[in-house]
Structure formats: C-alpha cells, structure tokens
C-alpha cells in the first residue's frame, strides 16, 4: 500500500473543504472496503480524510420519516429496535451482509460506495473498464458467475454487491449530501447508476460530495417483509441473487408492494413493473409467478451466470411467498 496522509475532519463542512483541495483525496469511514482496495492497489489515494469524528451517527425518527446518519454502523442500524419495528426489511438486509465484525465497522454511507466484487476489477493485472477505463471488460467472455443480468453494457457487467442498498432502494429512501456547492437530496434509486460507457462511475454523486444521512419515508411495511439472499454458502458470502420484498396486505389483498433485487445489476434493481402488476391483486402463488416473469423482462446472461435467469424469478416468487405468509 502506498503511504498517504490522513487528517481528521472536525465538521462535514471542513471535510468537504479539505477534500476539494486535493485531487487524490478520499473520505474514509469504516474503511472495510477502502482499506481492502488500497491493499490491492486498486485505489491509491494520497490523502485520506477521516470523517469518523463527525456527528453523523444518529438514528432519528422525525415527522414522516426516519433519518439515519451516514456514519451509523451497519450493526447499529440492523439492531436498532425502532428500525426493526418500523423498517424490518432494512434490518433484515443489513443482517444478511458480510459478518458481524464487518457490520460493526461498516457505515451506512460507506456501504453505498461498496465496490463491485468482480474479480477482474480487483486484479490489477486484468482488463477492467471500471478500474482502468478503456482496458476492456474481463468478465465478458470470462468468469461471470456473479455478474449482471439487467442493465449491463458492453463496457461492464459488474454488479453492486450491497444488501443494505437493495432494501433502501425498495423503501424509496433519499440520500442527503453536502458538497462544495451546498446541500442536496438524491433519490436512492437514482444514487447508483448503470455502467453505460462510463462504468468507472458507480454513483451520481458529484465530485467531493459527502453523504450526511439517508432518510426513509414512513410506510406500512412492518410485517410482510422479507430479504431473501441466495448465495454459495449459508453465510458470509456475496449474493448471487437477492430479493427485497415489502408487502402491505389487507385481507390478503396487496394494498402496496415494493420489490428490489441485488446481485443482478450495476445498481440495486427496483422491479417497478412487477410492483404495479401486483397492486390490488389477491395473494397467490400464480400471481407471484406472473410478477416474477414480468420482472425478468429484458434480462440477459453471459454464460456462467445463465442460471440467474432461472434463479432470479424463482427467488422473487419465493421471497413474495415468504413475505406474504408472515
């Protein structure tokens, strides 16, 4: 790892000011992903701005929404009793990610910047447009078992690996950021982007902006929710496919529904068409299967990940069934 300077930010304003001065500076919070990437020489900042001293750790229940500080730890949110009660889908998704040790370190804001687990991205000897633009995509025609079936491009078929983000996408969360130009709010579903010709850009965040919190509007998804994570071992593995389901049921009729998938695209993949289809329908396996098939429109596989075309709709049906039966 290259050596670097590190400074501790005292306020979000000063953090942003500091990072604006340096071309190769980065924020560091939990560091679980960044330190890993620095060890692999995938990322080599000259300067780190340690933002852990900032007052951004609180979980606050405000009128009409909950505000989760960007520096709240994954485990802190997953085990917060009010989160568990009001947004159980988020708690479930968080608990499905990584290991407890990592959840104790990783922050909500940091998790949103989690880099893909694509092997070609991690290995600096390999072609990867995301790491090294215009070097080619190793995964296309290569080992792509983990890779995208939705929204990929000829430049990149990597997937976003976060579990938390899948739940936040489903829950219509908003991201609050602070930058050199001031504060702004980004819809969570707009926060991550598809690769297109510029896979090096994971998010729509502008240069030098700092996430300060994530807000989730109040909802009725307190009971019939499920986060189904399908992976190669029972725990401590990245998702091949994951499904976040939130149902608002009244007498077995779907009043409202949210559906999102992980492990299938460059961003958390919201299944809006399937949601629309399900609204107003009575719960049944047949309906769930139809919704799953709708969700698969436009899916495309790349060889090793062909199985996802079968697995993904199965997982959607399974997750809906489990959520409905709770």
């Amino acid at each position: 790892m290259k050596n670097f300077q590190i400074i501790r930010a005292l306020s979000s304003g000063s953090a942003v000011t500091n990072i604006s001065k340096e071309s190769s500076a980065m924020f560091i919070a939990g560091g679980t992903n960044l330190v890993d990437l620095m060890k692999k020489n995938v990322t080599a900042p000259d300067k780190l701005i340690d933002i852990n001293g900032l007052d951004l750790k609180k979980i606050e229940f405000l009128k009409g929404k909950v505000s989760i500080g960007a520096l709240a730890k994954n485990s802190q949110v997953a085990e917060d009793s009010s989160i568990k009660e009001k947004h159980p889908l988020l708690a479930l998704a968080l608990a499905a990610g990584a290991s407890q040790q990592i959840r104790h370190m990783a922050t909500v804001g940091g998790n949103m910047f989690q880099k893909t687990r694509c092997s070609y991205y991690y290995n600096t000897d390999m072609p990867c447009n995301k790491r090294n633009p215009k070097s080619g995509c190793g995964a296309i025609g290569g080992a792509n078992r983990m890779h995208a079936i939705f929204g990929a491009s000829e430049s990149c078929i990597a997937v976003h690996p976060s579990d938390m983000c899948v739940a936040l996408a489903a829950l219509d969360a908003n991201v609050l950021v602070e930058g050199p130009k001031g504060k702004r709010q980004i819809k969570f579903t707009d926060f991550h982007r598809l690769p297109g010709n510029t896979p090096e850009k994971d998010t729509t965040l502008e240069n030098k902006e700092l996430i300060t919190s994530v807000e989730i509007p109040d909802n009725n998804f307190t009971k019939n929710v499920h986060y189904l994570k399908v992976r190669d071992r029972t725990s401590y593995a990245f998702a091949l496919v994951s499904v976040a389901v939130a149902l608002d049921l009244k007498n077995n009729v779907i009043n409202n529904v949210r559906l999102a998938m992980g492990g299938v695209a460059h961003k958390p993949w919201r299944l809006t068409e399937a949601e629309e289809f399900l609204k107003g329908k009575t719960v049944s396996e047949e309906i769930f299967k139809q919704a799953a098939n709708l969700a698969m429109k436009g899916a495309k596989s790349y060889g090793d990940n062909d199985f996802k075309l079968t697995l993904a709709p199965n997982a959607i049906t399974e997750a809906l069934t489990i959520a409905a039966s709770k």
């Binding site: 290259k2 590190i6 330190v35 890993d36 290991s99 029972t234």
Partner: protein
Amino acid sequence: MASKKTDQNKVTENDSNSRRDFIKKSGLLTALAFTPPSLVMASENKWDEKIAEYLETVPLSIEVNGKMHNLNIEPRTTLLDLLREQLQLTGTKKGCDHGQCGACTVHVNGTRILSCLTLATMQQNAQVTTIEGLSKGKKLHPMQEAFIKHDGFQCGYCTPGQIMSGIACIKEGHANSREEIREYMSGNICRCGAYHNIVDAITEVKEGGKEL
C-alpha cells in the same frame, strides 16, 4: 548485471522515488518549519530521507490490553500489523489480510472488529483487547476454558479470533440458540472444521451465565 547498475545510476528527477514525490505533495517547506532542529542535525546524510520518515509517520496513543502505547506509525499501518509486528502481540492472527476470514478479530472499545481492515491511526485513544488480554496469568477466561474443554480447535490458528468473536457473540445477545450462534460466528472461518465444538463451547459459556 553491469548494465543494470549503470541504468540505476542514471535515475533522473522524473523517475525519482516515491518518497520525494510524497514530500513534494506534503509541502516540504511548510513541514520543515515545524521539524525539530535536532532531527535535521542528526541526519547529516540522507537528510531528506530521515525527514521524510518523520513526516510520513503520525503519532498514535492506543491502549492495548490495559497498557498505553505512545507511538509514531505510518498511516498505512493496519491495527493487525501494528499488533503483530510492532507490539509483538502475535496472538491476533493474519489469515487473509482482506476481511475474509476473521482470524484477526479483536475488541476495540468493547466491540469485535477486524484488525486487518482497521488503520491503526484511526484508533486514537482506543482501548483494544486481544487474546493476550483475556487471561489473568494462568487464570483463563471462561471462553478460553470452554474452548479447551470442548476441543473447539485443532491447529489453533483461527482460535484467538474465534474466542474474541465468541465472547462478543454472547455479549451482543446473539447466542440464544445454536442456530443464532452459527450465523453470528460465520465471520470466523475454521479450516480444521471445529464448528460443532465451537458452538458447544459458546453455548456452555452462554448457559453458564458468567459475566464476560
């Protein structure tokens, strides 16, 4: 061989080593103003190297197993390497160095974390507990005793991480069933495959109800 040496002698300013790049970027002149004169005096040869070395480190105060350490470390030093290579506390193990195995689990301010993904410099004034800090002389921690009794290991290499994680697992309230223990201990890989016995050990300690 000979030609290679010649090449080296021709190093130009452009491909000079990274240290000089680093000094440039950190603002050498500003930095020099704050450098103790003794340091400059002491470094007649390679003065730039020595100053760079000084500038490349940061002070760190950290408490490990109840003992305070005041150190100067490079920012890139991880807590794991600090423990193992500088403080000679080799009980904390390096199994993967990338947060993929749990062998390096320690407690920081009472919470289990992975020391391999933790920059030591970010643990200013933290209280760190490692496996060496659990026992009081020959008197073992209940979790250590339980691991011996239930043979919760073979080679012993993942064991410090398992024990630190096991204690935390109970303290966090995640040891209420074998199933829950299995899930919350899944961040600690044991290649010898002692999982069955590890769960036995944690279950016994949990049921023993001793304060940990």
